[in-house]
């Protein structure tokens, strides 16, 4: 079997019923997708398969032979973060970080699909993703900011000058 993973053509050695999650994590060493429940309930393993968000834990790798798979590693790097990555950083949308990869991939699919900054639409798009830390507000604010095409200044500011644009406080 073959997959194009983050733009790289890759031959897959794992068995056909191996989950895409295990292929990514155990065979390829790509660890951003997380094993939160391994039954499709938490969303932490979400990746893009041909541009659509998919639960990698419920996807036998044989069912997507030849597909293009994108993980967070494929969105951008610390030096060149994608808009979704910048927004999650700027809005403090990641707390412990464990749900963040799956959350960002769902957000990426939502943005690529032309999603708006409507909070209810974003909630619907992220509905299958569980976060136990943030209460979701900052995550939704981050996605809305990307939908509005905002740019993000990630630099440190001086005391007392920049608390106005932090998620959830507006």
């Amino acid at each position: 079997m073959n997959l194009t993973v983050n733009g790289v053509d890759t031959t897959i050695e794992s068995g056909p019923l191996t989950s895409l999650l295990d292929v990514l994590r155990e065979e390829l060493g790509i660890t951003s997708a997380k094993a939160g429940c391994e039954q499709g309930g938490c969303g932490a393993c979400t990746v893009l398969v041909n541009g659509a968000s998919r639960r990698s834990c419920l996807t036998p790798v044989a069912s997507i032979d030849g597909a293009a798979v994108t993980t967070v590693e494929g969105l951008g790097s610390p030096e060149h973060m994608s808009p979704v990555q910048q927004a999650f950083t700027h809005h403090y949308a990641a707390q412990c970080g464990f749900c963040t990869s799956g959350m960002m991939m769902a957000a990426q699919a939502y943005i690529e699909g032309g999603g708006s900054d409507d909070h209810e639409a974003i909630q619907e798009a992220l509905g299958g993703h569980v976060c136990r830390c943030t209460g979701y507000v900052k995550i939704i604010d981050a996605v809305a900011a990307v939908a509005r095409g905002e740019s993000f200044d990630l630099s440190v500011t001086a005391a007392g000058t920049a608390m106005t644009n932090i998620g959830g406080m507006a």
Partner: protein, 455 residues
């Protein structure tokens, strides 16, 4: 004060956003064995004929049981001199569904599951206890030989008790006794990262332990004690926790993984399934709280009697500490001069309970705040004004007689009233935490005053 008011990036923010954060499950050590547990299938039973021989005969499989542990019982509070009551692995007796009995390490997850399936034991099931209210009955199931509640508070008392003032006089003088019973349920922390640990035996004889613990030094001490090793034989790598909320304070996996790494000489990893996380990991305790307050018609609380039953589950772990915090907060944010508090850490056949966000205090805050509203309703008094009248002020004393130096009750309640648009009379709207005087220092509150300067 460079950080206050500044926009400060999270030190791990960019790593989280780029998938570079290395959680325990992301640590890659070639040749790592998978770990799985043989767990109690029943709530309460005597166990005989534990047989791990078939599992041990499997290729590449290593098994540990209670026999493998140098010091089987070591409590999370043992370092404070509190006796242990929990074996690392069950021996002869199981006290909760899912209690670990034997733990295996095998070359793959499938092999580990097959090894667990090959382990057998006989269980003579006994009636189980789930309701703390029944723990004191003469015919209640016996959870521990020494009884159904913890008996090691100071001077080997069997309860956490607080006495302040003259409770009988307060109840004699009351216009009304307001009673309530409050029973918040257990809550599973449900972190998205389940319990996980990787242990690597190093060439120099040390064990490197990658742990999701919230309490690294606690875990280090617990592992060292069970293994009877000096601390310098352990290198614990922590600090990256995929959600904990108190549920990763207990040392759930590290000790057993360390024993398996020692036994096999190979790196081992244990990642709990979501099912294990829900069924076997600790929860927030369920609590049973009974409150009776002696109140006056004009809204003073003269005295409080309270009984708390803290459901520890099968073992005490940190519960005595949680109940102690609970007792110190049992008047909430209010000054009540006459107190009689009795709290028990009660054993049941539930999964052992532990810390969760405001350990011991959220439960009592729920009870006391609900009770304040109940008093206000029964007296026909504005619930904000009742709270402001009885609010802690500078110089008031806590249940354990610590003088308050900077109590925030008054400004907090005023802010809440403002936020919800609740109108207060000028007398209350202008209130401050200043020391009591005049109408706010009735005779019954004089005796409880302390000197904040002396604290």
């Amino acid at each position: 004060m460079k950080a206050v008011g500044a926009r400060v990036p999270r030190y791990d923010g960019i790593a989280h956003a780029t998938g570079r954060t290395v959680f325990v499950d992301d640590v890659r050590i070639p040749g790592t064995l998978w770990v799985k547990a043989f767990r109690s299938p029943v709530h309460n039973a005597m166990m005989t004929n534990l047989d791990t021989s078939k599992a041990e005969a499997m290729k590449g499989v290593h098994v540990i049981t209670s026999e493998s542990v140098p010091l089987l019982e070591y409590g999370h509070l043992s370092a404070l001199g509190i006796p242990a009551d929990e074996p690392l692995l069950a021996k002869d007796e199981v006290r909760y569904l899912g209690q670990p009995i034997a733990v295996v390490a095998a070359p793959s997850e499938e092999a580990a599951m097959a090894a667990v399936a090959a382990i057998t034991a006989d269980f003579e099931e006994q009636p189980a206890l789930f309701d703390v209210r029944k723990a004191f009955d003469a015919d209640a199931p016996v959870i521990h030989d020494k009884g159904n509640w913890y008996t090691h508070f100071e001077d080997e008392m069997d309860r956490r008790q607080i006495r302040k003032g003259n409770i009988e006089e307060a109840f004699d003088r009351a216009d009304l006794i307001v009673q309530g019973v409050y029973r918040p349920a257990a809550i599973e922390h449900a972190p998205i990262e389940t319990q996980v640990c990787q242990v690597v035996p190093e060439a120099n004889g040390r064990l490197t332990i990658y742990s999701c613990t919230q309490a690294l030094y606690f875990s280090m001490g617990v592992v060292a004690a069970h293994l009877q090793l000096p601390l310098n034989k352990l290198k614990v790598v922590g600090g990256t926790v995929g959600g904990g909320f108190g549920g990763k304070v207990d040392t759930a996996t590290e000790t057993m993984c360390a024993l398996l790494a020692q036994k096999s000489g190979k790196p081992v990893k244990w990642r709990w399934t979501r099912e294990e996380e829900f069924l076997c990991s600790s929860t927030r305790a369920p609590w049973h709280m009974e409150v009776a307050d002696a109140v006056t018609k004009d809204g003073w609380i003269l005295g409080r009697k309270m009984l708390t039953l803290h459901d520890a589950g099968a073992y005490s772990r940190f519960s005595p500490y949680g109940l102690t915090k609970h007792s110190f907060h049992h008047t909430g944010a209010y000054s009540i001069p006459n107190l009689e508090f009795n709290g028990y850490v009660v054993y049941t056949n539930r999964t052992p309970t532990t810390a969760m966000r405001g350990f011991g205090v959220t439960s009592v805050s729920f009870a006391t705040e609900t009770h304040m509203s109940r008093i206000a309703l029964e007296l026909g008094i504005d619930p904000f004004e009742l709270r402001l009248k009885n609010a802690n002020r500078i110089g008031d004393t806590s249940p354990n007689q610590i003088p308050y130096t900077d109590p925030s009750t008054v400004p907090t309640i005023l802010a809440i009233a403002d936020a919800v648009g609740h109108d207060l009379t000028p007398e209350y709207a202008g209130m401050t935490p200043a020391p009591r005087s005049g109408d706010l220092l009735p005779e019954h509150l004089v005796g409880q005053l302390g000197n904040p300067e002396a604290h």
